[in-house]
């Protein structure tokens, strides 16, 4: 990190140039057959992600899109999806961020087991996750917004915990120790050193969790068919009216998600830089 070239005596040397030397973009390496092969494979991987979305875009007409966007049911559903997932993310962050910190810093028996436990919601079938959450909450929560939020939170919170854990783990412990010797309390050290330095990773985690919550289908379907979140509305329209009716809604929802993610990234871009 930033410390390595301190003794060069060139305080403002161009870091960009330095990176070039380290990266694999050197001319000789670029013509290596394996490297060319990797480029081709990387392109294929990217295409696999972009092609379906591009297909959606090409098959939808602007008039269809505006018509869908004017639909009251659609707008209510998108709004519901956005805010429930956002609320679930913010509420859970109050416990998920401290958990990430504990997992990154404290040494306790079965830490590895606990870390693995956190990923369970990601690997189990989401309909099963919905059943599990419903079992915990009770049937009173069927069809409620709180129920939707609980289902979203359950399946998406591992992303935030993992991101926070990695973010805190990347903060050198030496910095916290230095702060202790300067007389700072644990709380002060957490809020002025650890949290600001892990902030980028945590924001990434928040965005991931929010996005994962919005896209949740299975677990939410178990708990609340109505009010209808957008993923369920897309499925409903597809089932009732077919592909051409579901497609503009899918495109609209994807577009809104993308715009929001880019916006959050841009807003937090100038936050404190951790990995110096």
């Amino acid at each position: 990190m930033g410390y390595s070239n301190k003794s060069t005596g060139y305080p403002n040397r161009d870091r960009g140039q330095e990176k070039q030397v380290d990266s694999l973009s050197g001319a000789r390496l670029r013509h290596d057959p394996l490297f060319l092969c990797f480029h081709a494979l990387a392109g294929a991987a990217l295409l696999f992600i972009i092609a379906p979305i591009l297909g959606l875009l090409l098959h939808s007409s602007p008039s269809e899109l505006t018509e869908t966007a004017m639909d009251r049911e659609v707008r209510e559903s998108i709004w519901l999806t956005l805010w429930t997932s956002m609320s679930a993310t913010l509420l859970l962050s109050v416990v998920a961020v401290p958990l990430g910190y504990v997992l990154a810093r404290e040494k306790f028996p079965m830490r590895g087991f606990v870390t693995a436990l956190i990923d369970i919601p990601i690997v189990i079938p989401h309909s099963a996750a919905g059943i599990a959450v419903l079992g915990l909450l009770g049937t009173d929560f069927i069809g409620t917004k709180l129920g939707i939020m609980a289902a979203m939170a359950f399946v998406s919170v591992p992303y935030l915990i993992s991101a926070a854990r990695e973010g805190f783990a990347a903060v050198p412990e030496r910095l916290e120790r230095a702060a202790f010797t300067l007389g700072a309390s644990r709380a002060r050290v957490f809020f002025t050193i650890s949290l600001p330095l892990a902030w980028r990773a945590i924001v990434s985690g928040l965005i991931l969790m929010w996005g994962r919550g919005m896209s949740e289908f299975g677990a939410v379907l178990i708990i609340a068919y109505k009010p209808t979140v957008t993923p369920i509305l897309i499925w409903e329209r597809f089932g009732e009216y077919g592909l051409s009716y579901a497609r503009p809604l899918a495109l609209l929802f994807i577009g809104i998600c993308l715009i929001l993610f880019v916006a959050v990234r841009v807003i937090t871009w100038r936050g404190p830089n951790v990995n110096r």
């Binding site: 410390y3 003794s7 050198p172 010797t181 300067l182």
Partner: protein, 353 residues
């Protein structure tokens, strides 16, 4: 002021056992030892950053072994500075003051005082990333000094710096000590010990093997280990001057009893001269040639060393020379015999005080 009493630390596969020493108010105490010997861990134990399995740390007679890191009031400077990367230089220095709830106006005054004291006035708005090693170390020092620590703990503060930065940092540490700051400084470099310490403790394999003034330790190493580790047996306190009045010309170093010629570019003034025993030549006749420092002396002692034979010659001051066994035979060296000693003006190293 600070007493470390029989401290033991178990730390991974490594034990530090039964370490004791005292540091008085205003002292500059250097812990000298090879890397991996447990110096840093010991320093962290004093600061409360590492748990001890045995023993006590006392400050002004009060047992602080169980006290929190925050309440001990020790300043700690890490080898790699550990500056807070997301805070400006100014905010780094102010950190400890804010933690102690010093009023804002006072913080500003104190930060600029400290910045001036360590010579970083122009860097206050910068981020640590943009600083050179020497500048960063000065910031780290100012940050540690800000809460007015009873004792400053320095972990290899000079070893990450280049030669020029090291020299000026040494000067700064010396000035702090003159101003009365108590310092415990950990290093593997005997030159730092010679030029800074009022007392030195030599550490070997998790234990302190010798404590004393630099002169006592370097001239009279108690064990083979200390002798080998410090690597020099000839160590003199004295004063450097330039007879031709121009630094860069041949300098003279005077111990009072003796005067040696030295090639150095250090400024005149008090300091220490070191000379490796293997750089001294012994001969039965006055040697011809360029060696400026030629003296007739009396052999005091002939003793086998790890490599060759160590011969102690008294020529006004005692000097140890390392020679081969066959040289001892040829020259007929035995206690009481006369011998010519000589060394080149480039062999002596001067370290200013």
């Amino acid at each position: 002021m600070l007493t470390v009493d029989d401290i033991a630390i178990e730390w991974n596969a490594f034990t530090l056992g039964g370490v004791s020493f005292d540091v008085s108010e205003g002292e500059y105490f250097v812990l000298l030892g090879a890397s991996g010997v447990g110096k840093t861990v010991l320093l962290e134990a004093i600061a409360g950053l590492t748990d001890t399995s045995k023993g006590r740390v006392q400050l002004d007679g009060k047992n602080i072994t169980e006290d929190s890191i925050q309440s001990r009031g020790f300043g700690f400077v890490y080898q790699d500075q550990a500056l807070f990367p997301h805070l400006t230089v100014s905010a780094n220095i102010a950190y400890g003051l804010k933690a102690h709830r010093v009023p804002r106006a006072e913080i500003q005054v104190r930060v600029s005082e400290l910045a001036e004291a360590v010579g970083i006035e122009g860097l206050l708005a910068r981020y640590p990333e943009t600083l050179s090693g020497g500048q960063a170390q000065r910031v780290a020092l100012a940050r540690a000094l800000a809460p007015k620590p009873r004792c400053l703990l320095l972990d290899e503060p000079l070893s990450a710096l280049d030669t020029a930065a090291r020299g000026s940092m040494r000067g700064l540490l010396r000035k702090l000590h003159r101003d009365g700051q108590t310092v415990i400084h950990v290093t593997h470099d005997y030159e730092e010990a010679i030029s800074l310490a009022t007392r030195v403790a030599i550490m070997e394999a998790g234990k302190i093997v010798q404590v004393g003034t630099p002169a006592a330790v370097f001239q009279h190493p108690k064990s083979e280990f200390v002798a080998r580790f410090v690597g020099i047996h000839n160590f003199f306190k004295g004063e450097l001057c330039y007879p031709e009045d121009s630094p860069g010309s041949m300098a003279e170093f005077s111990t009072g009893a003796m005067t040696f010629s030295l090639l150095t570019d250090a400024p005149p003034g008090p300091g220490a001269m070191t000379l490796r025993s293997e750089d001294i030549t012994l001969s039965s006749k006055r040697p011809e040639g360029s060696a400026r420092n030629t003296f007739l002396g009396t052999v005091r002692d002939v003793a086998p060393a790890r490599l060759g034979i160590e011969v102690v010659v008294d020529m006004g001051v005692e000097m140890a020379a390392l020679v081969t066994e066959s040289a001892v035979d040829q020259l007929g060296l035995a206690p009481g015999t006369q011998v010519w000693t000589s060394f080149k003006a480039t062999a002596g190293k001067f370290l200013e005080d």
